[in-house]
Point group: C2
Chain length 216, copies 2
């Protein structure tokens, strides 16, 4: 499959290069990754299991910026909110990766380990097992929707001069302070956390009694 | 700029073709739109204001599927939740358009008119004007994050055989019923609406006294 012309074709570099292509062009292909690395496409396939394998390398790389120590904080709701904020920041740095990673199955072991910790956190404080993935998915949807919104221009609505027919929208925009994206995320997160506090832990289970996950 | 070879090159067809390209390939360029329509690129530019203009045609087309009559329902929270569900369905049909439309400024007049109605709904029931765009943005983030999630495979987590180290995740996945994406969206929406009910209308303002917006 062609001599590798670089001695350092490893999974790390393949993931980094695919993420660079996504950041620069909004997409990547395995041949493009190979070209940027100066190797033949077949050489890349020696290291990863197809395009899906490269996507998982991208997922590991983006997710590596999530501070998983947040999941050890107490009480549990502080942990979950801190994880959500860190998760949003990690993905907001790579907005083009968001739709790709949201629509490809998660296989990366390190990322699965992170989900394991989040699941355990919720189980430990008494969320019913059948609700746990729904809670995590709902949180991810608002986190990733908000991460995409961070990539939006600060002036997201451009009204025609005089705003004919959109006077209320113009007033609302004029009254909105800076940091619209952050304010919207914090509003949605506050709503979500309030709902979870009512939903999950049994009242007899004091949230700060959570000892924190023991492993991973 | 070349003779148009089709008599029907109008904005409608340009928007439809760009959306088709997005649906098929995840992206579009103006030359690709022109090629699919059998005209020269310059002919497309006679009808729209650059690539940004084509994006706005795509936005109008996708947003046309949102049932804006939902915004006339009462009480206001029923209206807002129904609008959110219709908004999610419209965008879930075109997941590749979501990141593009979320990161381009809104200029399409019909879409601005829809924001105007949503703003007026919230102002009418007493939301402070400076919070209105934050509330709408937060709702859009969870709507569009959930719309992207609808494009995800039903089996979103693929654990290795025996699930070593991810036993809790495996249990949680096994306990999750079908329709994970819908359940997650409804959970986040319920949380959001609860928060808004506490946040917005003054208690002296009965929600069902809302007369509904008067115009389009």
């Amino acid at each position: 499959m062609g001599r590798p012309r670089t001695p350092l074709l490893d999974r790390e570099r393949i993931g980094a290069t695919a993420l660079e292509l996504l950041d620069d062009h909004g997409e990547f292909s395995v041949p493009q990754v190979a070209r940027r690395l100066g190797v033949q496409t077949g050489s890349v396939y020696h290291h990863v299991d197809g395009r899906a394998g490269v996507i998982e390398l991208v997922r590991e790389r983006v997710s590596a910026s999530i501070d998983t120590a947040t999941l050890d904080l107490g009480p549990w709701d502080t942990a979950l909110a801190a994880w959500a904020r860190s998760y949003r920041a990690a993905f907001a740095a790579h907005p083009h990766a968001i739709p790709l990673l949201m629509t490809s199955p998660v296989r990366a072991p390190k990322v699965l380990a992170q989900y394991e910790r989040a699941v355990r956190l919720l189980l430990d404080v008494g969320f019913p097992v059948e609700r746990v993935m729904t809670v995590i998915t709902a949180l991810e949807n608002l986190v990733l929707g908000s991460a995409l919104d961070l990539a939006a221009p600060e002036t997201m609505w451009e009204l025609p001069a005089g705003s004919p027919g959109t006077e209320n929208l113009a007033d609302a925009l004029a009254a909105t302070g800076p940091g619209r994206a952050d304010a919207a995320f914090e509003l949605a997160l506050a709503a979500f956390m309030e709902h979870c506090r009512a939903l999950g832990p049994t009242p007899s289970h004091p949230p700060d009694a959570h000892p924190g996950p023991s492993g991973a």
